[in-house]
Amino acid sequence: MDRRTFMKLGGAVAAAGMTGACGQAAQKIIPYAIPPNDGVNPVEGWFYSTTCRMCDAGCGIMVRTVEGRAKKVEGNPDHPINRGGVCARGQAAVQQYYHPERLKTALKRTGAKGNNSFTPIPIDEALNLLAERMKTARGKGSFVIASDANDVTSAIAWKILGVLGSTDFAVPALNGREKHVRSMAFAKGLGTLPYYDISQLGFLLLLGADILESGFSPVHYAGAYGEMRRGNPVRRGRMVYVGRRMSMTAASADRFIAANPGSLGFLSMGLSHEVFRIAGDNGLLKKIPVSLKEKWKSALGDYTPQMVMEKTAVPAKVITGLARELLEQMPSQAIPGDDVVCHSNGVDSLNAAAFLNALLKQIARDGNLLKKPDLPEEDISFYLRMKGFIGVPEASHDYAVFRKILRQSAKGQTALGMIIDANPVHTAPRSLKTAEALAKTGFLACFSSFLNDTTRFADVVIPAAHFLESWSAQIGDYPVGLPVLSTIQPVVKPAVGVIQTGDALIQAASKAGIKLDVKNQEEVVKSLVKRFRPEMYSIPRKLDANGVWEYCLRNGGWWPEPDKSKLSPRYVPPVQMPAVEKIKIANPKYAGGKDYGFNLHLYKTVNMGYGEAVNLPWLLEMPEPMTTLSWDSWVEINPKTAVKLGIDNGDVLKIESPFGSVEAPAFIYPGIAPNTVAMPFGWGHESFGRHASGRGANPMALLGDFPAENSDEPAWRAVKVKIGKTGKKRKMVREGNPEGEYEAEVFQL
């Protein structure tokens, strides 16, 4: 059975799922002079199920293709991660696929590293060069830096890295992941990311958590948010946001509460204190042993509303009020986000939020306050076993591994480096000197679809196939209460001159005499499906291996029934209470002394993220939802501060931290605290095609090596800056005006 046959099957079923039975009618009307043999359907097109790789969340998508060309991305309504939704970046996947600047040949460096001087060579020759290095690199230091550790490509890279005698596989990102995982280990003994089921909540407290724009899966949480609001006809979930900036998520909340930076750990403890007190007064803690209660009481004793008010600047009355709401509108939950994680006291603050959640859950369960039966605790064993198949350990997300790679490379102790679809020169703090370290790597191979900041330092660039023309599979990055295996299949015939990264790695390895038991990336996906076939209970038993494979491709992968009540056995373990006595919240520390008067608030926007897709005109021209700015980056400043300093919209400001400085135009924004300035990530590429190069400012220049306690990831919101006018002025492309109204006054609050 050839690939086309699979794809046709995928198309027929997916299309039927979308609009009833389409496909046949048009074929009846339009006769072919020469009948096609590959299932071309000129009007309707086919829908192919695959998985979006524009970020790591792994949403299931169906791509409409007409006459062999990818036209449009639609969400897969059955996929448990996105349930039919797709974000702006996912929609732009087709533009990325047809981007005029995509690499269509391998490149070999001709000039000095960093000069961007390359000469085109055949892919085979590039793989020969890589193979030569693989032969000699054994035991002499090698590393992989990738953008994802949960897919089949990383599984192949990990295997080869093992043969080369190294475990230095890094997935660096400033998203607090390593701290979240550590906190989960503390709170529940699980080594994974946390998952919050918000769809049924009565009250949701967001502690600086921008779940709808920059969390680990914005589309998933957006779907759950919609359900929380209006999924239940009789009750609407309420949402309160505490933080420093009116983000897109905060704008969706019913109430916004401003708090001091780095103080949300105190707030979590203060809320636990009040919840514990109020619940005790109302007899809701009767089932909890007295000894445990005594322990909690002494651990929480210091965090009175008065003390927490001093730390957070949230009035004591508001804290008590929030605690009451958390208790009255059960089920309720708090989600800690970037404002909690990315300060120097991040891990302890996360633990404090975890304790608050456990306490709320315990009270809800004991008091029978849950209207619906409680959900079972996350069953992550299947997820962990699938991750075990991929092989890359969770530790690859630790910043320590990335730092180790840079340290060794800078000393010239690395013979071979491979960078897979990542751009660490752009996305890591400048002070880590990533570029300098990569320049000293013995041999650097970049697998990339575009030339970017990092490929400048490559010895050879291998033109990676786009995910719309690749075979792969991804294990849903965090268990959404379900184990998820998402398959990726080519939706169009692969372009000439590109190669799937996994295939390139396997071919180079075999040339280097490294024996792997697989021939290509597709086979690894097949073996992954085969290996876990016995556990995929919802696939009909009678299907043979081919049938199962087709089932997975047609559906975009495998996951259990989304209805959790069907998960068996229905075992509800007792709530694990984190050891609250071990949580001590320290005052936040900052880089930058008295001269630096402003807190720097860095954030990801919904369309740009860390800047992986900033070269796509669709996303560049899309107004960022809160500022309505497009085509350039900016620095947000409070209107009152702007008046005090005589700053107007478009005045180019110099933002200076103890580690570096950048220039960006000012944008007067009412949703930012007066002593804070905010900047988006993702802009300021030095080399990323003609749309992105030199556009905007990269705030990574402002970040220093200021590690938080218990973590190697820099505390990237614990930096203070000073701002000054440069005298320059820049035009800003803005859809609306800063006070909110548009060209037409059609709406009143």
Binding site: T19, G20, A21, A25, V43, E44, V66, E67, K72, G75, N82, V86, C87, A88, Q91, V94, Q95, Y98, H99, P100, E213, P218, V219, A222, G223, Y225, G226, R229, R236, M246, T249, A250, A251, S252, F256, V606, N607, W618, E621, M622, P623, P625, M626, S630, W631, D632, P670, G671, P674, M732, V733, G736, P738, G740, Y742, E743, A744, V746, F747, L749
Partner: protein, 239 residues
């Protein structure tokens, strides 16, 4: 036949309408890019975007109220409201924009001579004029949707409620000798919406989801006092 009597005809089985729940909308803008991908809407570049020459048929408006920290924000997806008493229609000298029997304001691109009277009369600012010849650099033109045309310079364009999808849905229904089922036709914006804030359907079918949602107490229309009889119905956010 006056325009009014034409508008008041109620002999069609379909009248398309959209309900947008502002309580669910989180302003993420996925709909704007989905619309762009589906409808061959071009990007214009930084210089022209600065001159407000962007072509997007759908935009997210956001409104601020108050001062730090007592702020309120509302998002509002703004697209052609498909008014039954549309201010854009009577001013077109060549009937390039007219009201079709299914309640849509339709643009006939071939008739448009670019007077831009319609754009001037639209209170929502959702009509977009092609000031320039649009170019798709190779191979970007391969992404273009074959179901609809690429508009020429000098032509006005706007949201069509994804006319091509309505057409396709009706064709299928006709082939099978039935009415269009509720939920069978989904415009690109509604299909991609991560929060499921957008619902589309036939408001003349009393059992359809839009008809159901339109009964909500939270229902309101934009510029209702002008009597435009818009067919995008917003459901108010908040408690």
């Amino acid at each position: 036949m006056t325009l009014k009597s034409f508008n008041d005809k109620h002999d069609n089985d379909y009248h398309w309408a959209m309900v947008i729940d502002l309580d669910c909308c989180d302003g993420c803008g996925a709909c704007t890019i989905a619309c762009q991908a589906e409808n061959n809407v071009p990007t214009v570049g930084e210089e022209r975007a600065y001159d407000k020459r962007t072509m997007s048929w759908l935009r997210i408006e956001r409104y601020f109220e108050g001062e730090w920290p007592n702020l309120r924000v509302v998002f509002l997806p703004m697209l052609c409201q498909q008014c039954d008493k549309a201010p854009c229609e009577p001013v077109c000298p060549v009937f390039a924009t007219y009201h079709n029997p299914e309640g849509l304001n339709v643009m006939v691109y071939n008739r448009c001579i670019g007077t831009r009277f319609c754009g001037n009369n639209c209170p929502f600012g959702v009509r977009k004029f092609n000031w320039f010849k649009n170019r798709w650099e190779e191979p970007l033109e391969q992404q273009l949707n074959p179901d609809i045309s690429v508009r020429e310079k000098g032509v006005m364009e706007k949201c069509t409620f994804c006319m091509q999808r309505i057409r396709r849905g009706k064709d299928h229904a006709k082939d099978e000798g039935r009415e269009v089922r509720d939920g069978e036709i989904i415009p690109a914006c509604a299909q991609t919406c991560p929060t499921k804030a957008i619902t589309f359907g036939n408001i003349r079918d009393s059992k359809s989801k839009v008809a159901e949602l339109a009964k909500s107490k939270r229902r309101h229309h934009l510029l209702e006092e002008h009597g435009l009889e818009t067919h995008v119905i917003y459901l108010k956010g908040g408690e």
